[in-house]
């Protein structure tokens, strides 16, 4: 009797993950096409529209980059924690916290000039994200409490805080009773680069480069990787695990908070409970597909940005934009499956003919 057995390859091929990602995209497109066919849509037409609106021309490209910016930042946030083997599932919440603190600071500081106000708001974004991460980071480093659950739980806490502010203390007096928060001052808008792209994209790109170098090339990054890969070896090398966990998680929270502030000053105009818009959760998938590498985060964030922009555009064809979220999830599932098959090979194990004689 022959049966398949998965055997781990002795050596994992270096390009495996990249190949897996490509297979993931193709697989998702195929699955999406089946879904579209079943619901009487023409997949070619739909995909063509998606491609055009996301990548066909400078204006389309700028929309994709606009979307990719918060994804890259949240993806990086998750990757920074991930390079130490930690999961920041709460980037969504830290975005809200960052945007909230940035809004609050903008309300308190009156008449600052544009650049100064922007700098202050972005900095408060970082601080806001760190503040929300402080509890999970301390609980993880001192008590070993799983950061997966604590960061996740705080997502909903921070969204509720914004809802509370919206109807309470921060309610815009000029909104005629409609519960909403005042717009941030006009001079706080991030300067644009081209189309819909603002300097937020550059900030994201810069941070990706800085962290890529920091993690792979610096002594600090070496300690981070060592602590994540083998905590006992790190203690032995004189690396303080607690401080590394705190640093990785707080930085992660800070970057996600920055994503919130960038989204607030660059794209949105006011703080709403929907500001984070799923970017934090998508960022986790982005980072996972990028194997926690900053360079990969840039590529995956761009692709996901394109899928999201494309998803919005097909509504004019009468196709639900939900296709885009389905595609994102399917890319991940197919890529995960593909990578497993690249890392393992199937061996047909033949058990010798069974007999028992006495």
């Amino acid at each position: 009797m022959m049966r398949p057995v998965l055997v781990r390859r002795d050596r994992v091929l270096p390009a495996t993950q990249a190949l897996g990602f490509v297979v993931g995209i193709v697989g998702a497109l195929v699955l999406g096409a089946i879904l579209l066919l079943v619901s009487d849509n023409n997949p070619v037409e739909v995909y063509e529209r998606m491609f055009d609106s996301a990548l066909g021309g400078i204006d389309s490209l700028s929309r994709t980059l606009e979307r990719a910016t918060p994804l890259a930042l949240t993806g990086l946030a998750v990757a920074v924690a991930g390079s130490m083997g930690l999961w920041n599932i709460g980037a969504e919440g830290q975005m809200m916290a960052g945007a909230t603190l940035a809004t609050g600071v903008a309300m308190m500081t009156d008449g600052l000039s544009g650049p100064l106000l922007i700098a202050v708001m972005l900095a408060s974004g970082v601080v806001g994200g760190m503040v929300l991460m402080l509890g999970p980071a301390l609980a993880r480093s001192y008590l070993g409490v799983s950061e997966i659950i604590t960061t996740l739980m705080l997502v909903y806490v921070s969204i509720r805080v914004v809802e509370w502010l919206e109807v309470g203390h921060w309610k815009d007096a000029g909104s005629l009773g409609f519960p909403r928060i005042e717009e941030v001052p006009a001079q706080a808008a991030l300067p644009g680069l081209f189309g819909r792209v603002n300097i937020g994209a550059l900030i994201a790109l810069g941070l990706l480069v800085v962290f890529s170098l920091a993690v792979s090339r610096t002594a600090w990054g070496y300690e981070l990787r060592l602590a994540g890969s083998s905590p006992n070896t790190a203690r032995y090398a004189g690396v303080s695990l607690r401080r590394k966990i705190l640093a990785a998680l707080l930085l992660s929270g800070g970057i996600a908070g920055l994503a919130g502030a960038v989204q607030l000053t660059g794209t949105e105009v006011r703080l709403t409970p929907g500001l984070s818009n799923g970017f934090g959760f998508s960022g986790i998938i982005v980072a996972a597909l990028a194997l926690m590498r900053p360079s990969g985060v840039a590529v995956v964030a761009f692709v996901f940005g394109a899928v999201q922009v494309g998803g919005q555009s097909i509504q004019t064809l009468g196709v639900s934009s939900a296709i885009s979220t389905i595609l994102q999830a399917m890319i991940l599932f197919s890529a995960l499956a593909a990578v497993v098959f690249f890392n393992y090979r199937v061996r047909w194990a033949g058990a010798a003919s069974e007999h028992s004689d006495v």
Partner: protein, 505 residues
């Protein structure tokens, strides 16, 4: 032919099993009669555990046949082997800590509805029959190692195993517990069951077992149908091969130098918060190997960790060279001349998933910095230096270190620790699990260090290694040093009594 086969409880015939780069079993055979205790002897890496795992359905042999109670078997999983009546007790117990003793025993072999009271009664009955005291309703995490072993044996008995395989069962036991185990195994044999007793401890084998098979490098070198008149030296010779008997020569004694390590009244707790070390006073001098003797679990691990700075002592001080390092970090201690080879090579000493280079610079990366950056070129040069000096065989330096063999891992680890001329070396089980060449190489490095003026604290479970290398022996029991002996003047019986906590007055 059929008549002969049915006489054996176990017949492993012509077993071959290869792992990448290693031939673990090379046509080995094992015949075990019913109602006997059969010793499977051999050095580390001789293929004993591989044979056992073939019998237990963990490995599929590349060639050869497995016969149990006269039936040819093809095991696809451990479950198949259990169904055929083979019970295996591993060195590392397979128990679920949060479940109770009874739950662990019936796991995988219970009726669809658990009648807890009934099960606990039956378990109590079973443990009475074989003298295996265990409270069925206690959670396993509360049990001592000896008690956990009893639960493992009960697990096999619950499944009515006709063959019980025990892998190095006495490593975690006190001599008294080991003697009790001998009685239990005898009771099982009298009951008509067979026991395969895997060990390299010859005195125990001769005391407990009826027959023996000796393995060396995956092949059978001798079988004994009767161990009553067997000479220990003969067994030993079959195990290690004639040419290698006595390869470990006693080191020539030299005059020890000044004290390099001084522990003064050290006490510490273990991971569970229980006292593990109490009032330890040890001095190690330059040009001296101090051997720590003891049954594992008597504080050796905690002692090594306290010295390395990985475990905070609750009391006591430590002097390294001429400085008090009681509050110093592991890295500071290394800088002051303390090298440490931990018991867990992968996971503590080395980070398995990181590259060879990354692992080589664990101690020294701070000196390979260029600004905030880590200079890759400096790291590689350093790594290559180690590899050359200590004869490490590696593939590519950028590949994960977990791909290296045990001997090469240990050479790299030892080399890294010795790279910056330490004054003191703590080595915990440095040769455990290595092949013969690896053992010789590591023991050679330890001797060299000692001859070159380093003080060495050698913690080992291998009494022969300690007797050959150590200048002084300290026996640990229950977290205390209970005796100090000269290796060349002390009979093993006295050491054995001390290891059991009864040092002769």
């Amino acid at each position: 032919m059929a008549a002969i086969e049915t006489d054996y409880a176990v017949w492993l015939r012509g077993i071959e099993k290869r792992f990448p780069g290693v031939i673990a079993c090379d046509g080995a055979e094992l015949k075990v009669r019913r109602g006997t205790i059969h010793a499977l002897l051999g050095e580390n890496g001789a293929g004993k555990t591989t044979m056992a795992n073939v019998l237990a359905g963990v490995y599929r042999p590349d060639a050869g046949e497995v016969w149990v109670n006269g039936k040819r078997q093809t095991f696809r999983s451990p479950a198949d082997a259990i169904a055929a009546g083979v019970g295996m007790v591993y060195q590392e117990f397979r128990l679920v800590p949060s479940l109770t003793v009874a739950e662990n025993i019936v796991l995988g072999a219970a009726s669809p509805l658990l009648r807890v009271v009934e099960i606990e009664e039956k378990v109590a009955e079973l443990s009475d029959t074989y003298g295996l005291a265990a409270d069925p309703s206690r959670p396993v995490w509360q049990l001592s190692m000896g008690e956990r072993q009893r639960v493992e044996i009960l697990k096999a008995l619950w499944r009515n195993a006709s063959v019980l395989v025990m892998d190095e069962p006495t490593a975690v036991l006190t001599p008294a517990e080991a003697a009790e185990l001998g009685l239990t195994l005898r009771a099982m044999a009298v009951d008509g069951r067979s026991v395969i007793y895997i060990s390299h401890k010859l005195d125990q084998v001769v005391a407990f077992c009826d027959e023996a098979t000796v393995l060396r490098r995956g092949k059978v070198t001798a079988t004994f149908d009767d161990l009553i008149d067997v000479d220990l030296a003969e067994l030993a010779e079959k195990m290690v091969g004639a040419s290698e008997v006595g390869t470990i020569k006693r080191l020539k004694s030299i005059q020890p130098g000044h004290a390099v390590l001084h522990l003064n009244g050290i006490s510490a707790r273990n991971d569970r918060g229980l006292p593990a070390l109490s009032d330890i006073n040890i001095t190690v001098h330059a040009n001296e190997i101090v051997g720590i003797v003891g049954v594992s679990g008597n504080g050796q691990k905690e002692l090594a960790e306290v010295i390395a700075g990985l475990r905070k002592p609750s009391e006591g001080r430590m002097i390294l060279g001429d400085q008090d390092v009681s509050g110093a970090s592991p890295a500071d201690r290394y800088r002051m001349g303390l090298a440490y080879v931990p018991e867990d090579r992968l996971g503590v000493g080395l980070a398995p998933k990181m590259s060879v280079v990354d692992n080589a610079v664990v101690r020294s990366y701070r000196s390979h910095r260029r600004g905030i950056f880590l200079a890759a070129s400096k790291c590689i040069v350093f790594c290559k230096g180690l590899i050359e000096r200590f004869g490490v065989r590696v593939g590519r330096l950028s590949h994960p270190i977990a791909g290296l063999s045990g001997g090469n891992l240990q050479k790299l680890l030892l080399g890294r620790e010795l790279a910056e001329q330490p004054i003191m070396l703590v080595a915990a089980q440095p040769s455990r699990g290595l092949d013969v060449q690896g053992v010789v190489a590591i023991q050679g490095h330890l001797a060299d260090q000692r001859n070159n003026g380093v003080g060495v604290l050698l913690i080992s479970e291998d009494l022969d290694e300690l007797l050959a290398l150590a200048d002084r022996l300290l026996v640990m029991f229950g977290g205390r040093v209970v005796g100090e002996y000269g290796p060349d003047v002390t009979p093993r019986t006295i050491l054995g009594a001390a290891m059991a906590g009864r040092p002769p007055q």
